[in-house]
Amino acid sequence: MSADPLNANPTILSASDLPTRRRRPSSHTNIGAFSAVFSKGINVSSPSSDPFATSPISLSDSDSEDDAIIDRIDEQEIYDLISSISDPEHPLSLGELAVVNLPDIDVRDAPTAPFSTVLVQITPTITHCSLATVIGLGVRVRLEQALPPRFRVDVRIKEGTHSTADQVNKQLNDKERVAAALENGTLMGVLNKMLETCR
């Protein structure tokens, strides 16, 4: 890695302000949010209550255990997959550097159609950032590993944020050039380092 970063002092967003899937107030608000104090007091029927009951221990009454309720793959989920990728030159995540932003992600999830699509537009920290291609490639690799194959992944530079955006876009979406890039050991090393921090 070169000694002097291209952009030594980028603007960063506070981690607590990044978009997250906030737990929405659940349907049973009355005790919903109150964990510590009343969890024991209010759920009186005790743990091992009675293993004889016919439907043994009801799995859980929450939505997260009901397969009939389907969680669609949405923008936030894509954001969560890629925002924790590290920047190749700062110990910061792409989310904190605002390289990936929730409004710049577009998901068309259509389980019945032959294809669904994801479009991610990335914003390099400076307009001449030579690492934009590497970052784009990182995002692409991450999504291809993490999404079911029915998704078509499109990663591009957000319009007007980079001096050679067209070139970069061409590289990022040319199958053969991507494949060739992934054969390159040094580049793969950098990519793996970036993806290591994915949560």
Binding site: P5, A8, N9, P10, T11, I12, L13, S14, S16, D17, R22, R24, P25, T29, N30, I31, A33, F34, A36, V37, F38, K40, G41, I42, V44, S45, S46, P47, S48, S49, D50, P51, F52, A53, P56, I57, L59, S60, S64, E65, D67, I69, I70, D71, I73, E77, L81, H90, P91, L92, Q145, A146, L147, P148, P149, R150, N192, L195, C198
Partner: protein, 1016 residues
């Protein structure tokens, strides 16, 4: 044969015998039967032998005799003679080790003098030069000798002045062995500190610094226990030992800061900090600017949080040193000269507060400000006004937030320097420079907390934390201002609790808790009344907001004075609520609040325990039981759930009473149920009302709290038998559980209620004329709860029960239920616990497991297909409670059963099995390795939604377990499955449940990364 000859003959074969010979000689010298000179003379022929090993052995004999001698035996003259003799031998290279050992033994003699030490040192410096040619063990003894004479005869050695410095440096040069280096570093440190080294600074510095940085790694299986850390610390002490080194050390250290290795960097930074703390202020002032210029790069471009922290510690250490003796920061003081460029630079970087380097700038200011009151004042003076201007002009909440964080950091420094309100330390002489900005700061933070859009949670949290620090800061805010802050926090908790801003609310609660420790009167006067006023008199209109208010009260009530007030007011509120016909949920919440607070306190030593007992135990029980005796109407207190909470509360207090109090309580309390002399079973009589029956819930909690040494007033056997009979026929689950628990408590805690055996009990339960097949589920339950009680105290009868119950697994009628009921045995029970004086032996879980496993394995083999699953279900119900160390030895028997369990349809069994597998993978992966193919195939099947019978949590834990395999098991073993796993996981990537997909993504990433070479 002389002693000498005997010693030489035995030394190679029998060291103990040789030592005995030497001790004998020493005794004779002490008794004056033998002269030391004669002894040496008797060795003459060996000392001149051509064979070097014979000469060495002869010396070893002298050493052994010297070691055995009492320190007072030798005269001054004898010591001189022996010393000269041994020093001469030092020159004989092959005997260096033995001669040195002799000198080590000699120097502990009481008449050993400084003159001898000097002579030895001189001999070592001239005779043992080129020490590195000798083996490590020899060098070690030489260094030991040096260390020993330095600690006992230091003054004489100091008389050698420069000769000693040069001699030591030459002697140790080139040493590489870590064991020897530990001594070398401590020897050198003494020289550096105590000798006049001005003329030899460079030589000494080179001798020390050539070891920096230490990159030593202990070899595998190292038995000496010396770590790189030990060496680093000792070397650091040497480098930091004298300010004369400063001119060499700082440039060299700064140079090494360019290293790419984080551990070297860390070492450098810690060494700089150590030097800054040990060298004098004058020395540091010469280098401070140069240091800042290098260190700042490490903060502003830090790749690693840890290194940034080390750097801040170093910068602070410089400021601490420069503050030494200062009472005010004159502009020309070294401290002011050091701080000026730093504050200027930080101010500059803070102009764009959202950029990456602003945060480290804030951290630099924050840590400088903690260095001393003077440093704090200078920093505040330089940065506060510009920060406030920046805040005023900031466009956008992101910038404001970053600036508030910097201010908050400075408040934290103020707390370090000026202390909390309750601090006992003296207040610094200088006034707090923040006073000048007090009104402005208070206004900004209040405005940020209460005057911004409510949803800006993270911004408001920063403001809240800042305000909290200001309220805690000693002699800063006035009480009415703190009162205002308390009101703001109250408002946040009471008004904003329900719409999702849980984080902010929780912070506010914690903040009030913090304030209650320093200004509890404000909480009692402002917060408690405000909260109480919020509580409705009834929830008939569907109000539920009382829950959040009560939760706030629960968390704030921990301080004792506050709890007194809280208890009184909540009990009054409870009366009102009951009169207004509230639903049971409200009284339940009020009682839970009291329970929560009490559960956080140590009740045994609480002087008010008696008051709690009267009000919260007898008082409440009276309220609940009076209606049953015809006094007043039943209320929500007679609800099952409320009784449960009431019982829990009573239990907490009752178990804290001492034996004496409990004795009188037992009769008193159970009498509350009805007419005196009655036992609690009357409430369970067939014709009793439902409300009456429910009091058994209370009884179970009270019984649980009673100590074992208290004797119970009920006749043993009919009482227990009645209970068992009622339990087996009771249909209401909560009442039945209460009775079963009582049975268990009695049998576990009071051996007089011990049982004869399962067959007898069975007879009593089914009636004498019936056969075991007529056992009902109710009866089965009783047997299990009885066994639970016996098992916990590892009673021998327990094995009879267990084997009896295992037999039922093959029963086509009861097998299924029996298998499920095994969950009862080891599950933690709230009442049957150590804090309730239950007898719980350490190894009971292991015992049950080792007893059952072979029986289950055999039973499974022999069983018909229809009942086979019962064995696996029972196993999984035991396994999930057994610590993994106990499982490991039985894995060979266990694994095949576990794999079969994964083929069952029961999701609970599957989930439990996967949990066991996960633990096994982490703790004894080698056991899994031989089954890896079937483990992977089954986990993949369990992770797949289309296989059916896999609810989300099963799929999720299967994926989790699968993720643990790479890393735990050798890559060679896993590689053949890699493609299969990665391909199969594609299905899980499209799982309908988000949390399952997340697990699938992580799992797949782990397998994809599997064969990459490791970083280090």
């Amino acid at each position: 044969m002389s002693d000498a000859q005997r010693f030489l003959l035995t030394i190679d074969g029998d060291q103990q015998e040789a030592a005995k010979v030497a001790e004998g000689s020493a005794k004779r010298i002490e008794n004056k039967d033998l002269k030391l000179v004669e002894l040496v003379q008797s060795l003459r022929e060996f000392l001149t032998d051509d064979d070097a090993t014979v000469r060495a052995k002869a010396i070893a004999y002298i050493t052994a005799v010297l070691t055995a001698l009492s320190p007072t035996t030798l005269t001054r003259q004898q010591i001189v003679v022996i010393r000269q003799f041994l020093c001469d031998r030092v020159e004989d290279e092959s005997g260096l080790k033995e001669a040195t050992q002799g000198l080590v033994a000699l120097q502990r003699m009481s008449r050993f003098s400084g003159e001898d030490a000097v002579a030895i040192a001189t001999t070592l410096f001239t005779g043992a030069h080129d020490l590195q040619r000798h083996p490590q063990g020899t060098r070690f003894v030489v260094l030991k000798l040096l260390d020993a004479i330095m600690s006992d005869q230091r003054d004489a050695l100091k008389g050698m002045r420069g000769d000693f410095v040069v001699g030591v440096t030459d002697l140790v040069i080139g040493e590489k062995d870590p064991r020897n280096l530990m001594i070398v570093f401590s020897v050198l440190r003494v020289v550096i500190v105590e000798w006049d080294i001005v003329k030899y600074t460079e030589t000494l510095f080179d001798a020390v610094f050539c070891y920096f940085p230490i990159t030593f790694k202990p070899p595998p299986g190292d038995t000496y226990g010396i770590t790189a850390q030990d060496l680093k610390a000792r070397l650091r002490d040497c480098i930091a030992a004298s300010h004369h080194f400063a001119g060499h050390a700082f440039p060299a250290l700064i140079d090494k800061l360019d290293s790419t290795s984080p551990s070297v960097k860390k070492d450098v930074l810690q060494t700089i900090a150590a030097c800054a703390s040990n060298y004098g202020p004058t020395t540091i002032s010469v280098h401070s600017t140069q240091l800042w210029d290098s260190l700042k790069f490490e903060v502003f471009n830090a790749q690693d949080e840890d290194l940034a922290t080390e750097t801040l510690i170093g910068i602070r250490a410089i400021a601490v040193k420069l503050s030494f003796g200062l009472t005010s920061a004159a502009p020309q003081s070294p401290l002011a000269r050091f701080l000026r460029p730093i504050t200027t630079e930080c101010n500059e970087r803070l102009r764009e507060p959202q950029q990456k380097q602003a945060r480290p700038a804030g951290q630099v200011l924050g840590s400088l400000a903690t260095a001393s009151p003077v440093a704090f004042a200078s920093t505040i003076k330089a940065v506060m006004a510009p920060l406030l201007t920046l805040y005023q002009d900031a466009d956008g909440i992101g910038k404001q937030r970053a600036l508030l964080e910097v201010l908050g950091q400075l408040f934290e420094s103020a707390l370090t320097v000026y202390g909390l309100w309750c601090s006992m330390e003296g207040y610094p002489i200088e006034n707090n420079p923040l006073d000048a900005f007090r009104d402005k700061l208070f206004e900004i933070f209040c405005q940020a907390l209460m005057g911004t859009a409510k949803e800006e949670t993270s911004f408001r949290i920063v403001a809240l934390r800042g305000l909290l620090r200001l309220t805690k800061l000693r002699r800063f805010l006035a009480d009415n201002e703190i009162g205002m802050v308390v009101q703001y926090f109250d408002e946040i908790i009471l008004e904003e609790g329900l719409d999702g801003r849980v984080d902010l609310r929780e912070e506010a609660v914690q903040a009030l808790l913090g304030i209650s420790k320093i200004k509890s009167s404000l909480i009692m006067d402002i917060t408690i009344p405000a909260f109480m006023a919020k509580l409705p008199d009834s929830d008939i209109d569907g109000a539920i907001n009382y829950v959040s208010t009560l939760e706030g009260l629960a968390k704030l009530g921990v301080e004792r004075e506050i709890f007194e007030v809280l208890m009184r007011r909540l009990l009054n509120k409870l009366d009102v609520v009951l009169q207004n016909n509230s639903s049971p949920a409200y009284p339940k919440a009020i009682l839970s609040t009291l329970h929560y607070v009490l559960s956080l306190r140590l009740l045994e030593d609480d002087p008010n325990l008696q008051v709690y007992y009267e009000r919260l135990v007898s008082g409440l029980i009276r309220k609940a039981t009076h209606p049953l005796q015809g006094i007043g109407n039943t209320t929500a207190l007679n609800d099952e759930g409320v009784l449960e909470v009431m019982g829990r509360l009573a239990n907490l207090i009752v178990r804290s009473l001492d034996a004496g109090r409990q004795e009188s309580m037992v009769s008193e309390i159970f009498n509350l149920y009805g007419s005196p002399q009655e036992d609690p079973l009357n409430s369970l009589a067939a014709d009793a009302s439902l409300e009456q029956k429910r009091t058994v819930i209370l009884s179970s909690y009270l019984l649980a709290g009673i100590r074992r040494e208290i004797s119970l007033p009920w006749s043993e056997s009919p009482f227990l038998e009645n209970l068992m009979y009622i339990a087996s026929h009771e249909n209401a689950a909560s009442l039945r559980l209460a009775i079963l628990r009582m049975i268990s408590l009695l049998v576990n805690k009071w051996p007089v209620y011990d049982q004869s055996g399962p067959a007898d009990v069975l007879k009593k339960l089914t009636g004498p004329e019936n056969s075991p097949e007529d056992l009902t589920n109710g009866g089965l339950r009783v047997l299990f709860w009885l066994n639970k009680a016996l098992l916990l105290r590892t009673s021998p009868t327990s094995t009879d029960y267990t084997s009896f119950l295992l037999d039922y697994l093959k029963d086509s009628k009861h097998g299924r239920q029996t298998a499920r009921a095994f969950a009862i045995l080891l599950a933690d029970d709230e009442l049957l616990s150590k804090s309730n004086y239950a007898v719980i032996r350490l190894l009971h879980k292991q015992r049950l497991f080792t007893y059952c496993l072979p029986k289950i394995a055999d039973g499974f083999q022999a069983a018909s297909a229809a009942v086979k699953p019962n064995y696996l279900v029972a196993l999984s119900n035991i396994l999930r409670h057994v610590p993994s160390v106990a499982i490991t030895p039985s894995l060979d028997t266990l694994l095949p059963l576990l794999l079969q369990s994964l083929d069952l349809d029961d999701p609970d069994v599957k989930a439990a099995t996967i949990d066991t597998l996960s633990v096994t993978v982490s703790e004894s992966p080698q056991a899994i390795a031989s089954h890896v193919s079937s483990v992977i195939a089954r986990l993949l099947r369990a992770a797949n939604i289309s296989t059916g019978g896999n609810p989300p949590r099963v799929r999720q834990s299967a994926l989790h377990c699968l993720r643990l395999l790479p890393g735990a098991i050798k890559n060679e073993t896993l590689l053949p499955f890699k493609q299969q796993v990665i391909r199969s996981l594609i299905i899980a990537l499209d799982d309908p449940k988000r949390h399952v997909r997340k697990e699938a993504v992580d799992c797949r990433a782990r397998w994809l990364r599997m064969d990459e070479p490791d970083e280090d």
